[in-house]
């Protein structure tokens, strides 16, 4: 299945245009206000690959913030599963790593059909990231800036051409029938790819070791006062969870339209909310903000590795961008790691 090819950059738009005839093409686009967002592509030439990370992550195409599940009336149910075929182009390695985690979460034991329906109809072309943002720290986690496996297609920008690595059947399907666009890579192409990866790795400003943080949490008791101190700056916006490409929590809501008629949807939820674990009789198991933050970080740094063998964080830095109080993964992990738990 694994196959490596070379494509002239000039052929990219032709290739994408052909693929677009069979599926919806989604890619990072630069808006008038200079923001980068993933959206449906109208003009292929407007796709931006040399850009900062998108906000939000491409998770919204697999688990949308609000997803209608089914409509119901007294004697019928109409399941609203999304089966749109999508190609998501220009995704970063960290986001692909996050999708790999989501696949495991939604596919383990109980299979989430809504997620799987979208997932099976979506194919990703990721790109070896050569312009990490100041907020990025995937390099310490092995989730970027490039991937060795678990991708559909991975592109490396070699100046005038792309090294195209195919890693899955869906990826191979995209290449089939376009052999005239591709040639076989030479040894120098691999050398060039190595240079790109080296140059990318040297550009990271943040060096965060979640493993060190994990060890510190396991071996040194972190006082709850630390979490309460972090909590003073938490706005309870839920932004860290909403923006996180790994977080999967949702709430299920039924809405009645008329007598007996209605619909069910799910909507992103967050463990940072007090009501997330509320029980009957007005009992909040995690009433203090600090205990919820602690739970979230324990989940990502301890329980995820126990269960999936990987951290529940891919180092994309989006919580750093979106947290209004600057109490994000990078900040908290760094503070625990270097032992800066002073009250300021």
């Amino acid at each position: 299945m694994k196959k490596n090819l070379i494509m002239d950059k000039n052929y990219l738009s032709y290739w994408l245009r052909q693929i677009r005839k069979t599926m919806s093409l989604i890619a990072p686009m630069r808006l008038k206000n200079a923001d980068i967002v993933f959206k449906q592509v109208d003009n292929i030439h407007e796709i931006e690959l040399d850009c900062p990370a998108s906000l939000p992550s491409p998770k919204e195409f697999l688990l949308p913030q609000k997803e209608y599940m089914f409509r119901f009336s007294k004697n019928s149910v109409d399941v609203l599963k999304d089966c749109t075929k999508r190609l998501i182009f220009g995704v970063r390695s960290c986001d692909i790593s996050a999708i790999d985690l989501m696949d495991r979460f939604f596919g383990e034991k109980f299979v989430d059909e809504y997620y799987m329906s979208r997932r099976e109809n979506t194919v990703f072309i990721s790109i070896v990231c050569n312009n990490p943002d100041p907020t990025c720290f995937c390099i310490g986690l092995g989730t970027g800036p490039f991937l060795k496996s678990n991708f559909d297609i991975q592109l490396t920008d070699l100046g005038d051409r792309y090294l195209v690595e195919t890693g899955s059947k869906q990826g191979a399907d995209l290449i089939r029938g376009y052999s005239h666009l591709f040639s076989r890579p030479k040894k120098s192409d691999y050398d060039d790819q190595y240079e790109v990866i080296l140059s990318s790795q040297s550009k990271f400003e943040k060096r965060i070791s979640l493993e060190n943080t994990r060890q510190k949490i396991l071996n040194e008791k972190i006082n709850d006062l630390f979490w309460d101190w972090i909590a003073r700056r938490c706005f309870e916006c839920g932004g860290c969870v909403y923006a996180c490409p790994v977080c999967t929590c949702f709430n299920v809501v039924d809405r009645m339209e008329q007598e007996g008629d209605g619909y069910r949807f799910r909507i992103w939820d967050a463990c940072m909310f007090k009501g997330f674990t509320r029980m009957a009789g007005n009992v909040w198991p995690a009433e203090k903000k600090g205990s919820r933050i602690k739970q979230r970080y324990f989940h990502k740094l301890l329980y995820y590795p126990d269960h999936f063998g990987r951290f529940g964080c891919v180092g994309c830095g989006r919580c750093t961008i979106t947290c209004p109080g600057h109490v994000d993964m990078a900040t908290i992990a760094h503070r625990i790691d270097v032992g800066d738990r002073r009250r300021r």
Binding site: F61, P64, Q65, K66, R232, C237, G238, E257, I267
Partner: protein, 678 residues
């Protein structure tokens, strides 16, 4: 999936966000990263601001109330014809001033302008007001007296560069979260944060100085601070001499407020007052912020003037990173005021008493306009009970929950000959209407919002209006045509052109200049002007800044043996005002489903109340029940309740006593009794 950039419909911060649209349905929201206000962040309300748009409760067609009191579906034609006929009839029998209009701080500038024109040109009355009366009318009035312009003087972007932030009466991190974010950034860069608030709010927990004065003693506290500044010779004498007037009478008054005397009134130690006074006066880049804690008192205007005096005394105004910054509550409350949805001014605060501006509007609108200022919001409802007001047209407001002493308001609504309510949901107020008109939400229309820092920003329709609902401006235009006045615009940018033509401070603000950008801050006097980040540079709007000597007057109702607690009201970060939108948002409603009465542990002990017990809270005006939430954050002798809940309408308890000039009610202080229900 498409992503439409627009502005959040909740608070006055004016954050940029994208609505994610698939098949004419909004499925998500995300922050704009390159936005000057929110910089990639959003608060919990913004992150969930799209859910109510598709709620099944949305009004999808006009409703007419039958004789038996039930609503029936009607066509637009029938509903508009009925409204027009009834309004014309009442105008003929009782005169135009028997009709009052309540405009909306949730609607766009264009819609408020059209509504203001409808009241004045079509109905022929100046009886138009909106909820700014209940939040910042004291700012508009007080700062007009002191500076000549009642708006936030400086910009949100300056906060991070300030060296001192003095926040009084504002729960910034919860009610203006993105401004709170800028404040935290400033603190991280070494700024001193001083918070004056009886409650220990989140931002107070981050402050170097937290002054916990007794509710309603703001004037005394500020006068005490100014007394220290004068005594310590920290007054900016050149500024006071060159730019202000009436300093001498002010100084004479301030001598009555030595810090020791102020300590007895406010409960804040003289030591702290002195420290804060010295810090504020000696730091050049010092910004002063205030919000409802200052304005919602019978002494609201006095409180605002005291703040203004403090900035003038120290010369902390008319420069970047200084100023007096009232934080406006609603997404477009600044704009609704700017557009003249007020009984005494046209758009851009042009006095209706001034014959020159009246003539200008008469020429533009080709109609004779009424000369005398109209009724304010509370006077309208009093007018109904007196029999002077016969008809009320309410656009996007919910006075049946938001007015003080709501029993009085509901009686007035019931007594009206004719009530039209134009809203997105069947609100508590709409239940009393004769005709209900379905309006489109922020996600379904174009237009502009003006945020708290005077920034005019474009909003864009993401989806088609739900059901048969229409944008407010289209409804008003159709109604006015039915009434024989041709209000005719094809799109909102045409309305903006007319606003620019008639309003000097908006002259250069046109839709094409706002596209894909963070907007423009008024005053913007020409089509090439870049906007004004801070006001009163070199000269105050009215020429000289005026020191208004204000004395401390206690709140209208103080606790006594019968009603021993002070009740103070406010909001939580999960709901917005009367909850018409936020209760229909699953996450927000789940977080905060009921009214919790916050009380200090020592008071709870003495009343033998336990956490989550149900208590009866009564005042001289009403009674309600609710659960108690025991917290140190509320000081002793005080209880705090949010006003969101129609089920526990705290405004049944509040005191409708008004500030004599701004007519703002005293929401922040009234006396109550608490009893445990066994």
């Amino acid at each position: 999936m498409n992503k439409i950039a627009t502005i959040c419909p909740y608070c006055g911060c004016g954050c940029g966000l994208y609505l994610h649209v698939e098949n004419n349905t909004i499925v998500g929201v995300s922050p704009v990263r390159n936005h000057l206000v929110n910089k990639g962040s959003l608060c919990v309300k913004s992150w969930n601001c799209f859910e109510f748009v598709h709620h099944p409760d949305r009004l999808k067609y006009p409703l007419i109330k039958e004789k038996n009191g039930a609503f029936r579906r009607a066509s637009w034609d029938e509903a508009l014809r009925l409204v027009a006929a009834r309004l014309l009839e009442i105008r003929k029998s009782s005169g135009p001033d028997s009709i009052s209009i309540v405009s909306s701080a949730k609607s766009t500038n264009e819609e408020n302008y059209v509504m203001m024109k409808f009241a004045r040109a079509v109905i022929g009355t100046n009886n138009i007001d909106h909820c700014a009366r209940l939040c910042h009318s004291s700012t508009v009035g007080g700062l007009a007296d002191s500076f000549g312009s009642g708006a936030m003087t400086n910009s949100i972007n300056e906060i991070v560069h300030a060296k001192l932030l003095f926040v009084i009466g504002s729960n910034t991190t919860e009610q203006h979260p993105m401004i709170g974010m800028h404040m935290l950034d400033a603190v991280d860069r070494g700024a001193v944060l001083i918070v004056a608030d009886p409650r220990k709010t989140q931002i107070a927990g981050l402050a170097q100085f937290h002054l916990r004065h007794r509710p309603g003693t703001d004037v005394a506290l500020l006068n005490g601070i100014m007394n220290v500044i004068i005594d310590d010779r920290l007054v900016d004498i050149p500024f006071v001499k060159r730019r202000t007037e009436k300093f001498d009478s002010f100084r004479a008054l301030i001598t009555k407020y030595p810090p020791e005397a102020v300590e007895r009134i406010t409960g804040v130690s003289a030591q702290d007052i002195k420290k804060v006074a010295r810090l504020y006066a000696t730091e050049k880049k010092a910004m002063l912020f205030y919000s409802m804690g200052i304005t919602q008192h019978t002494t609201g205007v006095d409180n605002v003037c005291a703040c203004a005096n403090l900035t003038m005394l120290t010369g902390h105004i008319g420069l970047p990173m200084t100023g007096l910054n009232p934080l406006r509550g609603q997404n477009n409350v600044q704009g609704a005021c700017d557009m003249g949805a007020l009984p005494n001014v046209y758009s851009g605060y042009q006095e209706i008493r001034d014959p020159k501006s009246r003539k200008k509007f008469e020429m533009a609108w080709k109609v004779k306009l009424p000369r005398d200022p109209g009724l304010t919001l509370m006077e309208m409802f009093n007018g109904v009970l007196k029999g002077d007001t016969k008809a009320l047209y309410i656009m996007g407001e919910n006075p049946a929950v938001s007015n003080p002493d709501v029993t009085h308001t509901v009686n007035a609504l019931k007594k009206l000959d004719f009530l039209v309510v134009q809203d997105i949901f069947l609100s508590d107020t709409a239940e009393y209407a004769h005709v209900v008109l379905p309006a489109a939400t922020f996600a379904e229309k174009d237009g502009t919002f003006t945020n708290t820092e005077r920034r005019v920003q474009k909003i864009s329709a993401a989806i088609e209006p739900v059901g048969e609902s229409k944008p407010d401006w289209e409804i008003i235009c159709a109604l006015s045509r039915e009434m024989g006045y041709d209000l005719n615009y094809r799109a909102t940018h045409e309305i903006m052109e007319e606003i620019a033509l008639l309003t000097p401070i908006y002259r250069g603000i046109l839709h094409h200049r706002l596209e894909g950008d963070s907007g423009l801050q008024w005053p913007c006097p020409s089509a090439t002007h870049p906007g004004t980040p801070f006001l009163h540079r070199k000269k105050f709007a009215k020429g000289f800044g005026t020191f208004m000597p204000v004395d401390y007057v206690p709140p209208a109702e103080m606790p006594d043996s019968e009603f021993p607690f002070i009740l103070t009201t406010g909001r939580t970060c999960f709901h917005y005002h009367t909850r018409t939108m936020s209760r229909r948002t699953s996450t927000l409603e789940r977080e905060c489903p009921e009214c919790l009465i916050e009380i200090n542990p020592s008071d709870a002990d003495s009343l033998q109340i336990k956490h989550m017990n149900v208590v009866r809270v009564s005042s001289r005006r009403g009674v309600l029940t609710g659960r108690v939430y025991i917290t140190e954050n509320t000081p002793g002798g005080v209880v705090f309740m949010p006003f969101h809940f129609g089920e526990a309408p705290v405004n049944m308890l509040t005191n409708p006593a008004l500030d004599p000039s701004a007519k703002i009610p005293e929401y922040k202080v009234c006396a109550v009794r608490i009893e445990l229900i066994k």
